[in-house]
């Protein structure tokens, strides 16, 4: 997956969690939580979807790596390079 593919994947998962999520003003370097009204349960949903769709096991201590769209891409890129 390219960096853009990973970005799209995350946004697609968020859209499934909250169909009203608005990405028009989303800044990829800022925390998703502040911009999209996501709570800790929503981040757990992202972790579970990544495991379901791509068999990724993300340990709890790495959850902070999913804070912004950019940090998600940086963290997931090596894991999804062959996906």
């Amino acid at each position: 997956m390219t960096r853009d593919d990973i970005k799209d994947l995350i946004l697609e998962i968020i859209k499934d969690i909250d169909e009203d999520a608005d990405f028009t003003t989303l800044q990829s370097e800022l925390p998703l939580r502040d911009q999209l009204d996501l709570d800790s349960m929503d981040f757990l949903d992202i972790v579970m979807e990544l495991r379901k769709r791509h068999k990724l096991q993300i340990p709890e201590e790495d959850y902070p790596q999913l804070a912004s769209l950019d940090s998600c891409v940086n963290y997931l890129e090596p894991m999804l390079k062959n996906a």
Binding site: I17, M41, L44, D45, V47, M48, R51, K52, K55, Q57
Partner: protein, 468 residues
């Protein structure tokens, strides 16, 4: 329709023991993740404490008293659109005690106005209090108690303490001496938008959840009491139920945490260090309830949906737990609760200690139960004068009743105190493949807490199954 046990297969990916809202949600999430799930319930009805019973044309809800708005998002994400659409607001929450009487929507806007105008608290103090409790997390420092939190913001104001604490004591069994974070998290959840209920009642909710589980391929067996969880070499192998062995690499217990450790798995499979933590768990208190059904053509005026009443001079956590407490809530179920059913029912709830009731002789137990009903009617007549003539069903439940139907240690109706959470969360580190979901640590209790905890545990289980 749930099956009897003889229809169950010999092997599953995961077995869930118990069908409280936590167990149901874990089963749902794991089937959604593609696992083959077996759900076992000892009772003939699913739901755990999210339950109901029928008498003489009445349907009485046990724990449908009001939950926070967060249920809307949670049900939408983890259950179905139809379930979400049945969630409606309860707009009239009443407080009546010797210190004050008021009606509120129980949300931040209304509480701010009340605290400012009626209780004369400065706006800055109110705002600071709300931002403090809203910022609380379960991993924060636990040394501050709710009593200390209240004294810091509202020193000496026992009336304000009562307004803030009384509903939460009934919601999760917490006291002024529990960690302030357990108060703050639950209180903030309610203050978001007020109090909500499930239109159609508990029976409709559980029926909708059951249908959704079956659609997702979960095998559900009722009247199936698990005798033990089979653990071999530090690893779960399955369960023994009604003499039958069913294997699975993962078992999730939605039984009480103490029941899970001592009765189902057994002490011998745990380390000494873990057992010390488990032995220190305090189970929370239980409840008493009085169920009041009104005659078919009888009606009562709308005096509010949830009435927090007391004749005790001030709020005192131990007074609320006393066998002869003067404090109780009335959940009033008008015909709007179950459209089409058109009956009025009232459920009075009190917090109570198991030991107080368990130590009585059978004769004294019956006498106390009757006295409980009579005290409740006296209190009820203050709000609905002459209601006695309209009643055609009266029945009481005590902590022993809760124990009988849920099997929970000492009939606890609010799970465990805060320390139970860490033990529940670390169970699978002790025995591979063994997980617990249920009311632990106060914040995971209540309908919303139980469902969300079910999702959290399902994530752990899914991660585990996929790694073995």
């Amino acid at each position: 329709m749930p099956f009897s046990l003889d229809k169950a297969a010999d092997r599953y990916d995961v077995i869930v023991i118990g069908s409280g809202l936590g167990g149901l949600t874990t089963a749902k999430r794991l089937s959604y993740c593609g696992h083959k799930v077996l759900l076992l319930e000892f009772h003939h009805q699913l739901g755990g404490l999210a339950t109901w019973f029928k008498r003489k044309g009445h349907i009485f809800d046990i724990s449908l008293h009001g939950f926070p708005y967060g249920m809307v998002k949670t049900c939408k994400k983890y259950w179905t659109k139809e379930i979400t659409q049945s969630i409606v607001q309860l707009k009239n929450i009443v407080f009546d005690n010797p210190q004050f009487s008021l009606k509120t929507t129980f949300d931040r806007v209304d509480f701010t106005a009340l605290l400012n105008k009626k209780f004369k608290i400065p706006q800055t103090t109110i705002d600071h209090f709300f931002s403090t409790v809203a910022g609380m997390n379960f991993y924060d420092d636990q040394t501050m108690t709710t009593r200390e939190l209240f004294e810091e913001f509202f020193p000496g104001r026992t009336d304000v303490h009562r307004l803030l604490m009384e509903p939460i004591t009934y919601a999760n069994g917490s006291t002024l001496d529990d960690p302030a974070i357990t108060y703050g998290i639950v209180f903030s959840n309610f203050m978001n938008k007020g109090v909500f209920t499930f239109e159609g009642g508990t029976d409709k909710l559980i029926q909708m959840m059951t249908e959704d589980l079956e659609k997702n391929g979960v095998t559900i067996c009722t009247n199936a009491k698990v005798d033990r969880i089979i653990v071999e070499k530090g690893k779960v192998r399955g369960v023994e139920v009604n003499g039958k062995v069913i294997t699975a690499p993962a078992v999730v217990s939605n039984s009480g945490i103490t029941n899970t450790i001592y009765d189902l798995a057994g002490r011998d499979v745990f380390s000494q260090e873990f057992l010390e933590k488990a032995d220190a768990i305090r189970v929370n208190n239980s409840s008493c309830q009085v169920y009041i059904g009104l005659k078919k053509d009888a009606a009562i005026e709308d005096k509010g949906d949830l009435l927090f009443t007391s004749t005790a001079p001030i709020f005192d956590s131990s007074e609320l737990l006393d066998m002869h407490t003067r404090s109780k809530t009335f959940s009033v179920y008008y015909p709007k609760t179950r459209p089409g059913h058109d009956r009025y029912a009232i459920v009075a709830s009190m917090n109570s200690r198991f030991d107080d009731w368990d130590s009585l002789t059978p004769a004294a137990y019956e006498t106390e139960k009757q006295a409980l009903i009579e005290r409740t009617l006296v209190d009820l007549n203050r709000y609905f004068p002459g209601v006695n003539d309209k009643i055609d069903w009266l029945e009481a439940a005590t902590p022993k009743t809760f124990n009988r139907y849920t099997l929970h240690s000492r009939g606890t109706s609010f799970g465990t105190k805060f320390e139970g959470l860490a033990v529940s969360r670390s169970l699978f580190k002790e025995v591979s493949g063994l997980f617990h979901v249920g009311s632990v640590g106060i914040i995971m209790s209540g309908w919303l807490g139980a469902i969300n905890y079910g999702v959290i545990v399902a994530n752990d289980v899914d991660g585990y199954i996929r790694s073995v």
